[in-house]
Subunit: 220 residues, 2 copies
């Protein structure tokens, strides 16, 4: 586990401006997608980066920016009529080069699980060009599983959809238990293995505990 490296980008105006922007932006989201989520993804992405064998091919600044921005314009919180992803224009407005703005936006738009499921080869081709995607994607998915992932799953269910808890639990089989098999980095895979096992333990507990329901009238 890394000690916080608060100074790495302390004198980088672009990273500082993006950090301030995202912190305000995420305050409009519920606790399943808040500033703490971003901080954890940034921390996990840097943890994976620092232990990656292909670190020489990775640009930490791109990882930092993509980890910060990966949930901006997330489709779970925007309507189809919303404007296109604002990531590139935001970066350009704060002085990023067109190439950097384009690269970070491309990575952010490819983080999504559903995008990958729809077209896995697209995700792989983006990773071939921008290996930083693998790092940010594994970091984001690590935060979707384990104890934190469970907390986020129920928080999202309560805040956003009004869905029942059993419906939230279906999310385990539909998505969360599949993420380990889609890991792109060695470090990410190792951490996902442990957190996926936690999901399985929790699911077993859940089955045992819900088994007591049904002693009442009208439970049919």
């Amino acid at each position: 586990m890394d000690a916080p490296e608060l100074d790495t980008f302390a004198s980088d105006p672009l990273v500082q401006a993006v950090t301030a922007y995202v912190k305000v932006y995420m305050s409009n989201y519920d606790a399943s997608h808040d500033w703490s989520h971003i901080l954890r993804v940034v921390g996990l992405a840097r943890h994976i980066y620092s232990r990656s064998e292909n670190r020489a091919d990775l640009d930490l600044r791109v990882i930092q920016l993509a980890a910060l921005l990966h949930d901006i314009g997330d489709r779970k919180y925007t309507t189809p009529s919303s404007s296109p992803s604002p990531i590139s224009s935001l970066l350009l407005a704060h002085g990023a080069s067109p190439a950097l703005a384009e690269e970070v936006q491309t990575i952010c738009l490819s983080v999504s699980y559903s995008t990958e499921v729809k077209d896995p080869s697209h995700t792989l081709s983006v990773i071939a060009q921008h290996p930083e995607l693998a790092v940010v994607q594994d970091a984001d998915r690590l935060d979707a599983i384990g104890a934190i992932g469970l907390g986020r799953m129920f928080t999202f269910g309560g805040a956003k959809t009004g869905r029942g808890m059993d419906e939230s639990m279906e999310h385990l089989d539909e998505k969360l238990l599949r993420l380990e098999g889609m890991a792109k980095t060695e470090v990410g895979r190792e951490l996902m293995k442990e957190r996926t096992e936690r999901l399985r333990v929790f699911k077993r507990w859940w089955g045992e505990e819900t088994g007591f329901a049904g002693g009442g009238e009208g439970s049919a």
Copy 2:
């Protein structure tokens, strides 16, 4: 674990009417306090009842009614200006005797954890008069811990308060980990022990997983 005993009160018009009322009433709540919660509490209460040595002193119909009604008028979901608890009048309107209506309402109003913490001797004196309270209270608290309790805790946080997940986790030490020590029945205590251990395991996972945050700028 009991098989559902759907027929116990199948020809009891009062229980049937109350069941129908509660089912509609709970549909206004979020998934942390919904009809599934009531069904689990009813199931747990009947499980505890069926294994209680003092079963001869317990009235299963009172347990069933109190388990069904224990969240009606819950202060988490009502404003201080709301009318007093509607439990007694509801029961009277459906043909309960004044004594039964009064008894079930007394039990329901004494289930609450915060009521007990404020005045533990009051709770004990109600249990001395109405031992069914011990059964319903343990059942309700069992549904507040373990995997289901964790799911309800985060769901409530997302739905109702907009609180952060770390704030939700403080709820473990503030309340959930204390419930086992307040168990009133042997069967309840045994089940609480296992579910409390699950809370501790989850808390350890949470600590490990949140330890990765902080690698970003602005995390101070």
